[in-house]
Symmetry: D2
Subunit: 406 residues, 4 copies
Amino acid sequence: MKKDVKKVVLAYSGGLDTSIILKWLQDEYKCEVVTFTADIGQGDELEAAKAKALSLGIKPENIFVEDLKEEFVRNYVFPMFRANAIYEGEYLLGTSIARPLIAKRQAQIAKQTGADGVSHGATGKGNDQVRFELGYYSQNPDLVVIAPWREWDLNSREKLLAYAKANGIDISTKPGKSPYSMDANLLHISYEGLVLEDPANAPENDMWRWVVSPKEAPNESEIIKITYEKGDPVEINGKRLTPAEILTELNRLGAKHGIGRLDIVENRFVGMKSRGCYETPGGTIMLKAHRAIESITLDKGAAHLKDELMPRYAELIYNGFWFSPEREMLQAAIDKTQEHVNGVVELELYKGNVIILGRKSENDSLFDEAFSTFEEDSVYDQTDAKGFIKLNALRFIIAGKNGRKF
Amino acid sequence: MKKDVKKVVLAYSGGLDTSIILKWLQDEYKCEVVTFTADIGQGDELEAAKAKALSLGIKPENIFVEDLKEEFVRNYVFPMFRANAIYEGEYLLGTSIARPLIAKRQAQIAKQTGADGVSHGATGKGNDQVRFELGYYSQNPDLVVIAPWREWDLNSREKLLAYAKANGIDISTKPGKSPYSMDANLLHISYEGLVLEDPANAPENDMWRWVVSPKEAPNESEIIKITYEKGDPVEINGKRLTPAEILTELNRLGAKHGIGRLDIVENRFVGMKSRGCYETPGGTIMLKAHRAIESITLDKGAAHLKDELMPRYAELIYNGFWFSPEREMLQAAIDKTQEHVNGVVELELYKGNVIILGRKSENDSLFDEAFSTFEEDSVYDQTDAKGFIKLNALRFIIAGKNGRKF
Amino acid sequence: MKKDVKKVVLAYSGGLDTSIILKWLQDEYKCEVVTFTADIGQGDELEAAKAKALSLGIKPENIFVEDLKEEFVRNYVFPMFRANAIYEGEYLLGTSIARPLIAKRQAQIAKQTGADGVSHGATGKGNDQVRFELGYYSQNPDLVVIAPWREWDLNSREKLLAYAKANGIDISTKPGKSPYSMDANLLHISYEGLVLEDPANAPENDMWRWVVSPKEAPNESEIIKITYEKGDPVEINGKRLTPAEILTELNRLGAKHGIGRLDIVENRFVGMKSRGCYETPGGTIMLKAHRAIESITLDKGAAHLKDELMPRYAELIYNGFWFSPEREMLQAAIDKTQEHVNGVVELELYKGNVIILGRKSENDSLFDEAFSTFEEDSVYDQTDAKGFIKLNALRFIIAGKNGRKF
Amino acid sequence: MKKDVKKVVLAYSGGLDTSIILKWLQDEYKCEVVTFTADIGQGDELEAAKAKALSLGIKPENIFVEDLKEEFVRNYVFPMFRANAIYEGEYLLGTSIARPLIAKRQAQIAKQTGADGVSHGATGKGNDQVRFELGYYSQNPDLVVIAPWREWDLNSREKLLAYAKANGIDISTKPGKSPYSMDANLLHISYEGLVLEDPANAPENDMWRWVVSPKEAPNESEIIKITYEKGDPVEINGKRLTPAEILTELNRLGAKHGIGRLDIVENRFVGMKSRGCYETPGGTIMLKAHRAIESITLDKGAAHLKDELMPRYAELIYNGFWFSPEREMLQAAIDKTQEHVNGVVELELYKGNVIILGRKSENDSLFDEAFSTFEEDSVYDQTDAKGFIKLNALRFIIAGKNGRKF
């Protein structure tokens, strides 16, 4: 029944679950396993993952460990933030945006190593399985996809631990390890499970790992400046940084000031509602700052169309369709608008608040004081408004004259 | 050149500007003036407006003063919040939503008093002229619409004051009167002009009249419960209130805790960008709470479609198309979804933050723990996910097999 | 492995395939079978289906035969045509719209007869399985759904015939039976398979069963009048007819004049492209006529919003989401606009062409000659256009003055 | 009151109306007039326009006559057809798409000749004034725009003729000149006015100038092949042609076979409904052929998104917003999808019908017979459909289990 597969590239974190998967793949599929461990800012030690893979019998040439932080932020996070993407009015898509990159690299490593299969540690109830696998299929439709959580019978914590023990996998928990189901990368941390499974319960305060509670944030606010070029942040307080450095620094600032905690019930692509808590300190600042710089540099028609397209764009990313013609279409439309999104935003960070203090654009501002002030002026003829209104109203006037009521 | 008009219903605040208009209408159009002063929660004294109208020679039977707070919140504010409406990602449409109601009542009073004209005090550069006038035309296309700011030559503060003085209108400023151009109602206060005319400048702290600075908000947070029925808030902390009472109380709570300040550059319908600052304490809480109760009671398909339609809906309201077939279409779609939006949301208010602590719905929750937990279960067959993903990926698989790259 | 099921309601056509399914259900599931045969205008004899069911051992009280033509047209076809629904620019959704009704009745009969299962004859590669099953689940999530084509090993024509023969099912083909895979109802006939499987091949002329070739249609055109009330056709040539009678008569007229043949490649919900040919004579006339009556009675804002929502609405129906909150939302919006869609359309039918000759509405026309003529007039002030254009251009003017190029 | 302007570039057809405008500009504005006559396929003789301009005293160096047919089709018509653009379900935007090009060239000629003004012959009630002027402002916001029809008092046919006579302009009508208000270019001819002003009246058969009546079209059909590259037609019957040649040839074919007549009531941007008749023979063929080639080469996700965006795109063009950031956004999205739209479509033309006979793409077909046939296969696992349906239904299942009804 099992598909015949010779070599499988596993998305490997070095943790207990993917170590069990590693073993299980070897046992069940009798296949060679290639581990791929990416640093996308999750904060785990890559060397530990490497050592663990070696200790589980993976050949050195089959262990891939890579720092993808810059690629992640430059080619995934930043393009997404150009769209001001928010899922269901709240969620900044921190987990969703990381999966396509990992899937793509797995497919590339499969090609490089001659592997015919790929595997991941996402469960059969969540969104991540979809995101990984749509990624795989889009990159190489001939890959055999193995999703152990949907196949095996290790469907409880007890069975998993028993399997690990029986296979010599270290099951000791690291001190301080969170009991929640978590995902982390440079954009965010997510929490699911336990007390969160009842949406009437508030999260416990010690669940949060990154962002300080607004109540415990400094009493002094902090003012920063972010410089944008073509819709992407490139400087903080005048200092030019790489994409990953930008996000790292904004995370530090946001986390310090209690910014970016979120607690929602969301609709999974696979059909059920689920409760999640998220910390997105830098992303929360970027969303606000990007809207601010757009507010003075982006044309109204483009801005409104972007807003109308955004929910669809966010849904595509959430559902795992990053590598799809329709996401690429929308990206082409969005990127077309960002050429002039250049300038500086000044913000104040204070106990969970991101407050815009000012926005300025040397060469691309469309804000023209002459047109909006209250004094008399030569550039704008107020009587134009009469005709503008009259013709906008014309269909109501005709309808009314023909007896129609609103 | 002036149109012939016998009797004009003026939207009259009792302030200096509309008092000048009152006089100017009498002088220029030689017409009878009917004043209409609505209490929509702006906080002005209605009796003063009445007295002022009398003092300017308006006949008692031509003075209309009405408390529209309940109608405003029930039929305008609440329907709009069912849509989670936000203009350009930030603005809660506080001014926009009040104009149609006033325009409609003016048209009704015109009919009642046999007036053939209507007039307002909005300038020729802003959105409000459009909102008023589209409202008038939609209600009665035969009304003569007079927009003094677009017609007269009193196009500077100096000329206005001179005209007032010459016509015996009291020009003394009330102590404490704001120097900003303001609009207020039960949903919000807005500020424009002066230092705000440069979007690089932060607003002065003493500009804000309603919401305390987060920095000066209480150190103790406050926890409240809001009960929703069919998408509208009906109780606070278990106490049933009328719509206007609900909003009044949420305003009190939000204002106390530094919630609902906003500083943006927006795109006016008439074509230029303009800077505005807003205080919407109760609305900010309502938006967050409504999304929270929807998150457990609203179907995903409906929720996503609502999100996609929302920017258009918000734009219609912003532009003044409340009384339009297309706004009514969208409202029909939105209202259709709210039948099951029933339940209670618990929130914590703290220094500018609105934090969701829990959501619960006795009879309408679609959150089903059995489907989202991590343990094995009988309701959900994880192997279904394989087929779900495979067919979602099918077009990528076929494309890939035919040589197409993503 | 088979689910335990006691009584199954089968969507039964009386043809070979569903007769085999009937038998197979009895054999494999050891369950009682209830047959449901609906007349939705497919042109089969219902009595024959009844006799066949009896001959296959179904108890008389388990045989349900119903004429659903009026319900089909009134509650499914007409609401859909109010939206001017077209899938992928071409397809009038003839098959898609019939499945929800059948699924709903199956669920109701299951309740009535105490059945715990439902079954259909759609294959595992097509859209109809989805439409049936989404219908079942939406009506009763506890029903066991049996899709024999996805379960059995009768996966070739030969095996099917062998099974039928072995089980005493008559496999003689009716004279004149089409070799194509067909679906028919009062709205359309569809053809798939055989020579059509290569999209480079034109269909054979003798494939078409309903609509005469334009080349063989009468040389004399025919002029008809259709009267609309609230967006639905209610009279043809002044004669009031029921919904099914309207569609029957329009089918007769269209078929006679070579109207409504279509040959397309479409995207199935399950992910592949497929070639289909369709005959929709009455529907093709209705689409054109409905647009014509809307053109004089529907407000522009509503009309444009309808057009923007239509592709989504059509996609929902195509994909099987008739019974979904989002389809109901859109229907509410669409129906809201049809109140004034009243009047008469005159059309000429000629060799495949549907030519609009005129449209008239006694009380609901928004066409006002006074506003569109070329002569001078009092209702429209041409100078209003100057202001209208100027303010629509304002953002380009400001952008241009600030150096931006288009 | 008249603006001060020294030199004006007039869009000059050589006809009576624009000749009157020419004279009127000289008289009223005392300005130098530059005439610009573009050949966009309207069929007028350019030399005659040149001679007329000379005869009215225009200096030779101020007479610009240009053949823009290739630019028109390549950069305006073809990009629009990539979108399958249709306004209000029927209109192929023949007039709308020509205006931006003319406006752009006028602005360029103004720059070249040092002119400070531009002028056109569109009336104050129609769409064309908007399209011209939005074009002017987008290209150069400092141009003075003169719209004589909105300014002068020559607001009846009689006054116009009197003015012409008084100014020595030849008012003799060309034999065979249509009495309708017409616009023509390589994409279409439009008719307005006279008997058409009542939408209940059918057009007279002798109104149509281009497309033969289906009744008078040949009894023999004609089969053609169109080759597409990146979404644009490049060959007819295997012969490579330039864009304008392609459209010219398709016009000849369509006109011969009675294809592309249209009679509609449309909603003008300026607010009223208006009746128009159109002949778009080549465009009607192109729309059908483009959809056919897309049907086998375009991904479903991209195709559906295109369809959803299309009405907005068409509205933008109709309203005159060709040169706008939002049209450019949409164009970027559309063009992104056309890379693989390569192949050949075979069509039959017969008495008003455009019948697709086949579509084929050597390298870019996504139609894969293996996936859509009825026989057993290895590429598609029918049991995948079960999971696909189950998870698509999951929200209905959960809703149903929680008591919700659809």
